[in-house]
């Protein structure tokens, strides 16, 4: 049960133009940097990307926007990216905005084998347009479908060769949810270890969900808002 591939290029080699991809991360925190670089290099296009954010101009999914590889973004917040804005206003890029919790839960539903879930978020708003509603205990809920993604691409802190994953701090965010949801799930990790090196009690994503894993390199881990406090005198 060895799921190790050599690197990002090999991990993404069968992703073709037109594919639907999930990409983990919140802002620039916990994004699959190596795979994004490899996708840019491969030059595939017409991609549909499901990711909470769209990166910044020169990092994260922003890099795939610079090279015009993205046809559609499905996100909850896309405010940090001028190229994104330009493509959206010119009609080159399609965007579907989804409440953040709904985005996460639609990933979770997919990984749990549930075709749809009922959620309160967006009731009475334009998000509800065209959606089936159902009343439970006097409250209306929207029916939201599980996502259907060709590939889920996630970034973990540690992983073993069987694909078991552990995430670090708030870099967990959407990663374990998307890891469960891909038809093919690719995990890049900061530290690739042998089976037995990770305590089974502390696995976040069981390897059954992961198809390919590799040791990532040269993580930049850019900080969007560097906030600090002064040492107390």
């Amino acid at each position: 049960m060895n799921k190790v591939v050599a690197n990002a290029e090999e991990a993404i080699k069968d992703i073709e133009s037109g594919a639907t991809l999930m990409l983990g991360g919140f802002g620039l925190c916990g994004i699959p940097e190596n795979c994004i670089t490899a996708i840019v290099k491969k030059g595939i296009n017409n991609l549909t990307c499901i990711s909470n954010n769209a990166g910044v101009d020169d990092f994260g999914i922003g890099l795939m926007l610079q090279t015009k590889q993205v046809k559609k973004m499905i996100s909850s917040y896309v405010g940090e990216n001028a190229e994104f804005e330009r493509q959206l206003l010119s009609g080159e890029l399609e965007v579907e905005l989804i409440p953040q919790g709904t985005l996460a839960t639609r990933c979770m539903a997919s990984g749990y084998g549930m075709p749809a879930v009922y959620l309160l978020a967006g009731v009475g708003t334009e998000v509800a347009n065209g959606k089936e509603t159902r009343n439970f205990n006097g409250k209306d809920y929207l029916m939201e479908y599980a996502f259907d993604a060709d590939f889920a691409i996630v970034k973990a802190w540690k992983g073993d060769t069987m694909g078991n994953l552990i995430f670090k701090d708030t870099a967990r965010n959407f990663n374990p949810l998307m890891a469960m949801a891909g038809k093919i799930t690719i995990a890049e990790v900061e530290e690739l270890v042998q089976p037995g090196d990770l305590d089974p009690n502390f696995i976040h994503t069981p390897g059954v969900y992961v198809h390919r894993i590799f040791q990532g390199v040269n993580y930049e881990k850019r900080i969007e808002q560097r906030t600090t406090r002064k040492p107390q005198a």
Binding site: F26, G27, L28, C29, G30, N52, S75, S76, Y77, V78, G79, E85, L88, L89, L97, P99, Q100, G101, T102, L103, A104, T105, C107, M108, L119, L120, A121, G122, V123, G124, T125, E126, V127, W157, K168, D169, T170, A171, R172, N173, F174, N175, P176, L177, H204, K221, R222, I223, E224, Q225, R226, T227, T228, R229, K230, P231
Partner: protein, 218 residues
């Protein structure tokens, strides 16, 4: 004098009760964390996946993997817990988080809120706002009472695209504190130096003044 942002935050902090789990939105709500009353222990939730949000790190100790929902570098505290984004919104939806404080562009006198989209301007997205307002148990809005042109932002109905329906329980503006009730806004406190006449003039939504209305005390 109308309140400044720090004072709005300070007044909202008085709503915190010992043992509360609290989600603070971006902007004025974030400042509430600076004024938590002594003896009141609360746990701050950051919806990207953390309970027990601590202060900003010391210079040199910033960690790209440890951020809040505003993407600022933060720290954990003893007793913090980390989780994924589905669980984060799950605990809000399930009513486990006691209080949510967020900003708004408009609030209607029935508790509707608009805070995510201005037609004709670049739409950045709702982030977690729709999830929070739809499901949170108790929502307090921190906002300016009027826009820059002096138009009321406490309205009979929202003119901007809605974020959530009938969800706001209380508004703390630069002019006062307002409960949202079946009879519209009820002014329960006014900012020091602000007159009831000014509040009435600047509130377009249905407004009553509580019999025991009083000047805000910090």
């Amino acid at each position: 004098m109308p309140l400044n942002k720090e004072q709005i935050a300070k007044r909202i902090a008085q709503e915190l009760e010992d043992g509360f789990y609290v989600n603070l939105g971006i902007g004025i709500p974030t400042l509430v964390a600076n004024y938590i009353p002594k003896g009141v222990n609360v746990v701050l939730q950051s919806e990207n996946g953390l309970l027990g949000m601590g202060p900003f790190p010391f210079e040199g100790e910033e960690d790209a993997d440890m951020i809040n929902a505003g993407k600022q570098t933060i720290t954990t505290l003893p007793g913090s817990a980390l989780f994924d984004s589905a669980m984060s919104f799950g605990m809000i939806r399930a009513g486990k988080v006691d209080l949510t404080v967020l900003g708004a562009m408009e609030v209607a006198d029935n508790g509707d809120i608009a805070n995510w989209k201005i037609p004709g301007k670049m739409v950045k997205g709702m982030g977690g706002a729709m999830d929070l307002v739809a499901a949170a148990k108790n929502i307090i809005v921190a906002m300016q009472h009027t826009d820059k042109a002096g138009n009321s932002k406490l309205l009979p109905q929202c003119s901007l695209p809605i974020t959530g329906l009938k969800c706001v329980k209380k508004v703390v503006s630069d002019l006062g504190v307002f409960d949202v009730t079946p009879n519209g806004f009820v002014c329960i406190e006014y900012a020091p130096g602000v007159t009831i006449e000014e509040i009435k003039a600047k509130t377009a939504g249905m407004l009553t003044i509580a019999d025991d209305v009083k000047e805000m005390v910090f």
